[in-house]
Assembly symmetry: C2
Homo-oligomer: 348 residues x 2
């Protein structure tokens, strides 16, 4: 195993001492980079996910170009529903479409139990290839969607504005919903274990749609399955990060789900959250992604505000509070990374 040269990210995830705060950016391998768009132009999104050389190339781009302290494998959360047997299509400027959405118990029986090594070999190959290419420069993060978030896509048949189908499903067929969540949780745990086996140094679970739920429903339909996954993942010391967007109302419970790190969106005051949930977990976040539309002065001020709010404690990984926006200038993203590398030394 290659030793990781820059292991700041891994140390911060475990609440250990660091010389400065590590930084990575959600969606850092993405459309804001001209180098990414050049690859994307010759291919399409799903082909990029399924071609280890291309996935690996765009995964490493932000490490070289922006100087982040961790890479995250280029992929999509919907590879799981696809591996379970649903037909997936990415429709240009409209988003993902899953054909024949799940609407009743019998639809669930048709879904396959996945064998990650076989059904998602292309992701695992991308992970191993990227690890070789990175050659220990920075750690590599693997990721998956939470069962609740994946189920939302599988029932809606894609994205949604009103989320009426998924809400009808959980309120009118709660048993079927739990059966499906259980099946997805098993698939995600198997998949994330295989990513660790393939060389991932850390994992992030995205609960993009957790914030749609009322506090009680979040515990029942999302959090319990995140806990299940974390308890099932086969890992040694690899940290698990949970990013549950909009879930401001269950931070104490989230901090007890077994994750090493909780990711915060930009609507929370990271210092207040730290005081509230204490040292149980490390925190990741949480600069408003739109601040990167501002001037360098504005970016520096707001980035330092996040560092100050967290204060001189251990266990902070700097990130945006949501994915980087496609029309942000790469120079601004690099400026942010440089600011954090420089300014955060004062806090350690």
């Amino acid at each position: 195993m290659t030793k990781i040269t820059n292991d700041l990210f891994l140390r911060a995830c475990k609440g250990k001492s660091v010389e400065r705060t590590p930084i990575w950016i959600m969606r850092q391998a993405g459309r804001y980079l001209p180098e990414y768009r050049a690859v994307r132009k010759k291919s399409n999104f799903i082909t990029m996910c399924k071609t280890p050389e291309l996935a690996s190339e765009v995964t490493i781009q932000p490490v070289d170009l922006i100087g982040v302290d961790a890479a995250i494998i280029f992929s999509d959360i919907l590879v799981i529903p696809e591996a379970m047997g649903m037909k997936l299509e990415m429709i240009e400027s409209k988003g993902p479409k899953l054909y024949d959405p799940i609407r009743k118990a019998s639809d669930i029986d048709k879904l396959k139990t996945i064998d990650a090594v076989k059904d998602l070999k292309y992701v695992l190959d991308a992970v191993s290839m990227t690890k070789r290419e990175l050659n220990g420069r920075v750690p590599l993060i693997g990721f998956a969607g939470s069962p609740w978030t994946l189920m939302t896509y599988m029932v809606e048949g894609g994205g949604s504005k009103s989320f009426s189908e998924i809400k009808k499903f959980i309120y009118n067929q709660p048993e079927a919903a739990h059966k499906l969540l259980d099946k997805i949780a098993d698939a995600v745990a198997e998949y994330l274990s295989a990513k660790i086996e393939a060389g991932a140094n850390a994992l992030q679970i995205f609960d993009t749609w957790g914030g749609l739920l009322s506090p009680a429903d979040f515990e029942e339909f999302s959090l319990s399955y995140i806990e299940k996954i974390i308890s099932q993942i086969k890992r040694k010391d690899e940290p698990v990060i949970v990013f549950a967007k909009g879930v401001h109302y269950k931070l104490n419970k989230l901090a007890e789900c077994g994750a090493d790190v909780i990711g915060l969106d930009w609507t929370m005051d990271i210092g207040k959250v730290r005081s509230k949930i204490g040292k149980k977990v490390a925190l990741q976040g949480n600069l408003d992604p739109t601040v990167l539309y501002g001037s360098e002065e504005k970016i520096r001020t707001e980035a330092v505000n996040v560092l100050k709010s967290f204060g001189k404690h251990k266990g902070h990984i700097f990130n945006l509070g949501h994915g980087i926006l496609p029309d942000v200038s790469p120079a601004k993203a690099k400026f942010l990374v440089d600011v954090i590398k420089e300014e955060s030394r004062k806090f350690h």
Copy 2:
């Protein structure tokens, strides 16, 4: 002046004793009602807003059909930008469009200072007509968008997914942004004062997009202008409600903005919010609107959970945590109203 027969809503807004918890529903005059769709079929949305007879008819429908304890005048928050000189169009199944969006300081100078009695006569006529028709059965609520929410539409030119234009505007041209917010705040205060003059018994300010902002930005770009409006409105005893969706992080500050009532979205635990901000204001909310997709049993359980969470205190107005969804059955909405009328007696 006609005396209000059912004044439960007004008493609850002021934290006074009531025999049972009053209920009204955001977007209660809306598409889920076949009687509304029948009016809408013969007209279009903007014409309905501008024709007092039609606006009045759909405003009163939910009082007759669902049995709510307050009516809210049928209108749209974008009548203000239109009165200020922007061209407004409602595009079927796409949403509102404001032509020639504001992008620089000189665009702001072109906006008119409104004279509500002249420029928004049709809304005021709808208010007076509805008051006559209601004949004191229940109070009538007037409303407006917050300056931040209105500015978002005026700069984006309509709805948005990424909100990149408005964020670029506030970060790169903060002076222009404050100038525009100030101008909108004056218009909204003038408009709401005129609504009171025309007979509105209460006012609600909708800050639909407040939750897009980080906590510090919310104070600077939204809350301060809500405060300004409330201090400027000419009113006697008419309560003001502020509903700031997603603003879970500034509830204490919100409670000090001068409003009598704070509306909560469904992601907050209303009992916890009450303990946190005390008796400074009454609270409105906050059942998850998608619960109305569930069975009667589910609706009863969740509605009673909200009542229990608030507990045996004064100052609760029951509502959904966001607008009622267009594909909800009217029978379910009526069932909810009946459940609250019956079950809430135990809490008073």
